[in-house]
Symmetry: C2
Subunit: 427 residues, 2 copies
């Protein structure tokens, strides 16, 4: 995809569906799957390619490597003629235009025809459950992600700018031949959930929130958040709220096992957070009622996690079809409406568990939400915690036959361990 002119492109990223079936990120290529057979249609190498891009594998070598038949792209149109073909809309508009032209019909995300929807469901059924190869990919991503977070903690001291910390973290990915699975969040404004600006100078006493994950060469994603004190010591109030989030995260992870509905995993987090906030005097009332009414969502507005795989929000290109099984759909309640996943967990699924607490002015000043909360949210008490803007603790969790495995367990998250890791320098 062009960044500013045709020859200056963004790093190519193959569609995750293509990666799943073919295993190689081949540029401008299509896979035609019929039963057990897969045919790849690739552009013929241009006369100048060897000069500018080096020797590329021949069609025969690629066939050997992928186990697919390999044909030149200009034969695809004819190969598709006169038979029903289902497809999944590509992420980028130019490729979708090509798909529409090849199939003589409009290919648009969110408006799948019946055949495409059936294909989507079949692909989801496969990709939901990670096999050994996929799990190895997720482990590789988790390991690099762990190195990035340790480097980020090590690089943090007062006076070091956000982007210097971000640079230390992303270097760990680049030096493993990997990239980021999503735009890195490295910020003292953790209350802005998808804050991708890195220009701020953290002050002594600030918390830094880093949500950074690796994407392996094969496309597998890591997705981890840690929050640490810039000066290496949590204040008392920061530690109080950090402990609430950490306890909620552990309790929520403990609930992950075969057969559990993810909505209940989310609600476990909500209850744990609400209960911690009641203990601190920030919320008042019965925990179950607070959660049922969504009072906790004023401080924890997002979902507790999502599917993880070749996409960091796995298969989100298919909308809620992957995250919500048939018969389930998103709630319209504030907070719950952001939950990206509500399936029954099955061994082989990978999910994130990422509770957090945030002071978001746009929420806390919202008259409707404040009226709903009433005196169950003690704003005066909350003011005592003004040195916390946002805390999130996120790990990647694989559902196993025996329960679960935390793939990113090696990254410090106990407050003492975090404090020790901060400012120790990078390797």
């Amino acid at each position: 995809m062009s960044r500013n002119y045709a020859a200056n492109t963004y790093p190519f990223r193959a569609s995750s569906h293509f990666l799943y079936f073919v295993g190689e990120p081949l540029v401008d290529s299509f896979a035609l799957i019929e039963g057990e057979r897969c045919t790849l249609f690739l552009p013929r190498p241009g006369p100048d390619d060897a000069l500018w891009h080096g020797v590329v594998p021949s069609f025969a070598e690629l066939a050997e490597q992928t186990g697919c038949t390999v044909e030149p792209l200009d034969r695809l149109k004819r190969a598709l003629e006169g038979r029903p073909v289902a497809t999944l809309p590509a992420p980028d508009a130019a490729t979708r235009t090509l798909q529409s032209r090849l199939l003589n019909r409009e290919v648009v995300p969110g408006r799948l025809i019946v055949e495409d929807a059936r294909l989507a469901d079949a692909v989801i059924a496969l990709r939901l459950l990670h096999d050994e190869h996929a799990i190895a990919g997720l482990r590789e991503a988790a390991e690099a992600t762990a190195a990035a977070h340790r480097a980020g903690m090590g690089a943090t001291t007062p006076g070091v700018r956000e982007w210097t910390i971000c640079a230390a973290m992303e270097r760990e990915l680049t030096k493993r031949g990997m990239t980021t699975a999503y735009g890195s969040i490295v910020t003292v404004r953790g209350e802005v959930l998808h804050n991708e600006s890195h220009h701020r100078l953290p002050a002594d006493g600030d918390l830094l929130l880093a949500d950074v994950g690796a994407e392996t060469a094969g496309g597998w994603a890591g997705d981890v958040t840690r929050t640490w004190p810039v000066n290496g010591r949590f204040s008392e109030t920061q530690r109080d709220l950090y402990d609430v989030v950490l306890a909620a995260q552990k309790q929520t992870i403990a609930s992950v096992r075969h057969g559990v509905r993810y909505l209940d995993v989310h609600l476990t987090a909500c209850r744990a957070l609400a209960s911690g906030l009641v203990a601190l005097g920030i919320l008042r009332g019965d925990v179950d009622e607070l959660v049922a009414d969504g009072v906790h969502a004023l401080l924890f507005p997002h979902g507790v996690g999502h599917l993880l795989g070749l996409d960091v929000h796995d298969m989100e290109d298919l909308g809620d079809r992957a995250g919500y099984g048939s018969g389930r759909s998103r709630s319209s309640q504030f907070g719950l409406s952001y939950l990206r996943l509500d399936r029954d967990l099955v061994p082989g699924m990978a999910v994130t568990i990422e509770p957090g607490l945030y002071q978001v002015p746009a929420i806390l000043n919202d008259p409707k939400l404040r009226a709903m909360a009433g005196d169950r949210l003690d704003m005066t008490r909350l003011e005592a915690f003004s040195d916390v803007r946002g805390i999130r603790i996120e790990d990647d969790v694989l559902v196993t036959p025996k329960g679960h495995e935390v793939l990113t367990a090696a990254i410090p998250k106990e407050p003492d361990a975090v404090e020790q890791a901060v400012g120790r320098g990078t390797s």
Copy 2:
């Protein structure tokens, strides 16, 4: 632009034309320019934006900041109705589709209607000549690019993989809040001109070629290549060829001044390289004849440089319209056909000067090219230099009223200075 699903995007990069006129990389926004007046059409903030993306400047604040009138995007269609509007095709397909819909005509790069072509020429006339603000941007890019190259040299020792060196270089950009202006080339296979793979383990005795440039937050590009010995010492043969390239680069830079045609700048490089190769016994014959016939192009196949500005190949989205003035067009001769620029130089233009020498098997084994060269290329003699795959030395040069200024002069390029910089570690 979506990377794998709608919410997971590539880092947004505004069109350089938009950046030039508005100065701010505003997402999903259009600028309507009438005479001296500029109106910006922006999407209205969504209800969830404050939560996910934080507080964004209001329309009034943006108007203050940019000096433009600011209107909501949904008013653009009506604002365009019933009047002739010229436009420049956006880099990405989805935005071009939107342009086509807004203007009720197909907007396609390379097929400009008369009005669009006139607009393109007017924009080129402005963007060709860098004012103080632009030059400040190019200096900022040059400075960061210099830091990256010094870090890359410092991080290089035998046993360190290409992507570790690349990571050390790119960290210097990230930690300044910048990005790369193009896909970084950091490779021991320098003969593959746009080699963007970084997985190789450089061997003791290899040369490493690094073509890495910064893009500032404002969009200004740096573009620099250095070539250094992995073990910190050029071999005799490496040094011989390095000296030929360096002498050619200096001579070519010396030729840059007001009124000189860039084709002649390119030919200066060709003659200097050919002359050096004759001295080493690799080429045989009269230098002018060798260059006229394109024999030198078997070892120096590309153009000596290009325009530099908000795009690393400035305004290449408009094809050769920017690089070649009216009445000039590309040669079809091998080598010359890759020259991206042939204008008369004028103070305010910025160009790269980047001669190189490469042993590209696809070229050296090409029967037609070899027949053309005949015994004027001594392949046996060339074999003595088999420890050189590719050398390129590139700087960014501003044409000034008095001659020129090398913006990237601070980066080591004398062989002794390069040797000293290698393996010294990173700061």
